[in-house]
């Protein structure tokens, strides 16, 4: 059997000791030693999250404050989202773009009135901080928050569990934010996540993170969930993984993220790559990210070649087994003329051509709480 390599000298998150105590298997991820699974296993953890509540440690992600005279207007020079229209204590998904309309990172932005709160990907956070600092010099300042941990509680039982500490939390709508105290621990909470389930992301002081995690894990509905299940959950939910489904070479429109380009921004531009994104909005992009349902049981993994039966038309960017789907699921890029839902395509898995179909995303319906 082929082995999985490991890397030395990795950073650790505040909950490292707790993860080890819970029987985590660790893997290197974005320079951190992170739990990929616990004793329940990836399959069990995935299904637990869809039926009860999963606790994820995503403390490797970057948490930043952006301060300035008008941080929303400043940030808009780097992202295509309508950040100035974002109401106080509301959260929005947006993208840092490059001059080619490609994606430097995807991130969550929350309007905290006198500043913006940003959550960025672990692998890109240093580059993001440098980019924001350089490009917004003189108008907005970036304040990284390396001493904070970030936990996510996801799944249908997440709201009832957290409501036992803070009854008001159940009334929060998807993509809204609040400062909430849990047993005296001051937290910044958004009703959001990356599993397709209802849930919350909770920013907590690193020194209090373990006590907070133990408070949640004491509830029978809550289990610790590793990055393995986080990946299969987000794939079934049709959500992009930066560095795989989106990167500097995929434009926002190719990635089928046009919904993240604000209406005003489409008209006015004013962000890196605007001309290319505006042209692709008007004329269509040459290729598109689509959902892919392989026929049969064989998973088709990242980098699997996609053909129309004879000619290469694209490549899978995320693929595997979907535990809730009960079979293989994938997403990838195909030439625009093959991107319509229902199109029959061919996947070349270990040299064997296997039939598949372009399907609508997500594979598992989102269950966000819209209020």
């Amino acid at each position: 059997m082929s082995a999985i390599p490991t890397e030395p000298s990795l950073k650790r998150v505040p909950l490292h000791g707790l993860h080890a105590e819970l029987g985590a298997k660790f893997v290197p991820f974005a320079g951190y030693e992170m739990p990929v699974q616990y004793k329940l296993g990836v399959l069990g953890e995935h299904l637990h999250t869809r039926t009860k509540a999963g606790l994820f440690d995503v403390s490797h992600m970057g948490q930043l404050r952006l301060r300035g005279a008008n941080p929303a207007a400043s940030l808009e020079t780097l992202v295509p989202g309508d950040i100035q229209a974002l109401k106080p204590w509301r959260t929005r998904y947006t993208l840092l773009t490059n001059d080619q309309g490609g994606v430097l990172d995807d991130l969550m932005v929350t309007n905290l009135e006198d500043h913006l709160f940003l959550i960025v990907n672990a692998a890109t956070k240093d580059a993001d901080i440098a980019h924001l600092t350089a490009r917004l010099a003189g108008e907005a300042a970036v304040e990284p928050l390396p001493d904070r941990a970030l936990l996510a509680l996801q799944g249908p039982a997440a709201a009832s569990v957290l409501s036992r500490f803070a009854p008001s939390i159940g009334g929060m709508a998807f993509m809204t934010a609040a400062n909430i105290s849990f047993d005296g621990i001051p937290c910044f909470v958004t009703r959001s996540g990356y599993t397709g389930e209802d849930g919350y992301e909770i920013s907590v002081p690193g020194a209090e993170a373990e006590r907070f995690a133990r408070l949640l894990l004491a509830h029978e509905e809550v289990a610790a969930i590793g990055l393995g299940a986080r990946d299969s959950l987000r794939l079934e939910a049709g959500l992009c993984l930066y560095g795989h489904d989106i990167d500097e070479t995929t434009t926002v429109i190719e990635a089928d993220l046009a919904w993240a380009v604000g209406k005003r921004r489409r008209a006015d531009g004013g962000f890196p790559g605007a001309a290319i994104i505006q042209r692709q909005l008007a004329e269509g992009a040459p290729r598109r990210r689509v959902g892919i349902l392989p026929e049969g049981k064989a998973p088709a993994r990242e980098h699997t070649e996609i053909t129309d039966g004879t000619t290469r038309i694209g490549e899978i960017t995320s693929g595997g087994f979907g535990p809730s789907q009960g079979g293989p699921v994938a997403m990838g890029y195909v030439d625009a003329k093959h991107a319509a839902i229902g199109t029959a395509i061919t996947l070349v898995v270990r040299g064997v051509a296997r039939p598949a179909q372009v399907v609508a995303l997500p594979f598992v319906p989102h269950r966000y709480f819209r209020g």
Binding site: M1, A298, G320
Partner: protein, 125 residues
Amino acid sequence: MSTIHYTKSHEWIRVDGDTATVGITAHAAEALGDVVYVEVPAAGKALSKGKEAAVVESVKAASEVYAPVSGTVTEGNPALADDPALVNKDAMGDGWFFKLTVSDQSELADLLDQAAYDALVAESH
């Protein structure tokens, strides 16, 4: 009487005269986690020692299974298509991958016996 040998890459092979049965060890199955898909070779396929013979996939990743010795496949385990979790439940028994006719008995001499394999697993902990 059959004898069981192991590879450093965590396959087992149970040899009975010229025929043998191959699978992955319980240690390997445990390390992989929940097996969700297995691809076994078809009868008649010629295998070379140390080369890819089968594929085993968990939720997270696909791994190759190598042929412990050279030979010709006589049967792939048909039960794994519908129940790949057999690999987790009974790696050394019902979760076998394929049977083959061994073409060169002398290749068995390079493999590990039970004690040597147990020592290899112990080292990795």
